[in-house]
């Protein structure tokens, strides 16, 4: 499946891009994170502390065990600091 991935805040800085398109067979958000971490040291470092990362599928906040079936956009970012 083709997925658009977006990164925000320090995760964007560590990964080095705001967005990219990937081909993946990952079943869940957690699987996708493992795939990304395996790419290179930059990704491995960016995703080294899962507790400090949040994920969204098609602009809805989800848990890491959320299935990717039917998803078109996945986003990764640090805990939000609005207000």
């Amino acid at each position: 499946m083709t997925l658009s991935i977006r990164y925000f805040a320090w995760l964007r800085e560590r990964v080095g891009t705001p967005s990219e398109t990937v081909e993946t067979e990952a079943a869940t958000v957690a699987d996708l994170i493992e795939e990304l971490k395996a790419r290179d040291e930059g990704y491995a470092l960016a995703f080294s502390d899962p507790g400090s990362i949040r994920a969204a599928i098609d602009q809805e906040l989800v848990a890491f065990d959320a299935p990717l079936a039917g998803a078109s956009e996945v986003a990764f970012f640090p805990p939000m600091t609005g207000g």
């Binding site: 602009q59 906040l61 986003a75 640090p78 939000m80 609005g82």
Partner: protein, 148 residues
């Protein structure tokens, strides 16, 4: 006026609150909260930069607003949040609620703020002469959701 606004432009808190209050019928109470760019203890904040996730931001704010209106039986609610580069002491965001009585208006505004802090995709970065630093989320912000 759109009850959900995400913008880079500066806004006038007083004018926004007056417009909101004038637009509500049958409410006996209006409560508002405004967040302002706070200087650091060291006093050397140059600017605050706010990043957001266009699309998800509007969706998340609309959901938070709709939930607050239903839960506290509000006559109306508005949320305005800025992004981009802000100077110290500039308004960052504001919420306002209107209800028949004050308790619902106060609680509705507190609910909006608690959810806005950690469920709307905004990220703050503080710029000082030494560089840029992302503001870390506080555990107390996440804990604040438990009271609802």
């Amino acid at each position: 006026m759109d009850p959900i606004r995400v913008q880079s432009e500066r806004f006038d808190m007083g004018a926004e609150l007056n417009a909101f209050a004038a637009s509500v019928d049958g409410a006996g109470a209006v409560v508002s909260f405004s967040g302002i760019t706070r200087d650091l203890a060291s006093g050397d904040l140059t600017a605050m930069v706010i990043e957001h996730y266009p699309g998800m931001t509007e969706k998340a704010l609309a959901k938070i607003r709709a939930t607050a209106i239903e839960r506290f039986d509000l006559a109306d609610a508005m949320i305005l949040h800025r992004y981009g580069r802000l100077a110290p002491s500039e308004p960052i965001m504001m919420v306002a609620t209107a209800a028949r009585h004050r308790q619902a208006a106060f609680e509705g505004a507190a609910y909006l703020m608690d959810y806005l802090k950690s469920r709307a995709p905004f990220w703050k970065q503080e710029i000082t002469p030494d560089g840029a630093a992302w503001v870390a989320a506080k555990d107390s912000d996440e804990d604040a959701l438990n009271r609802w």
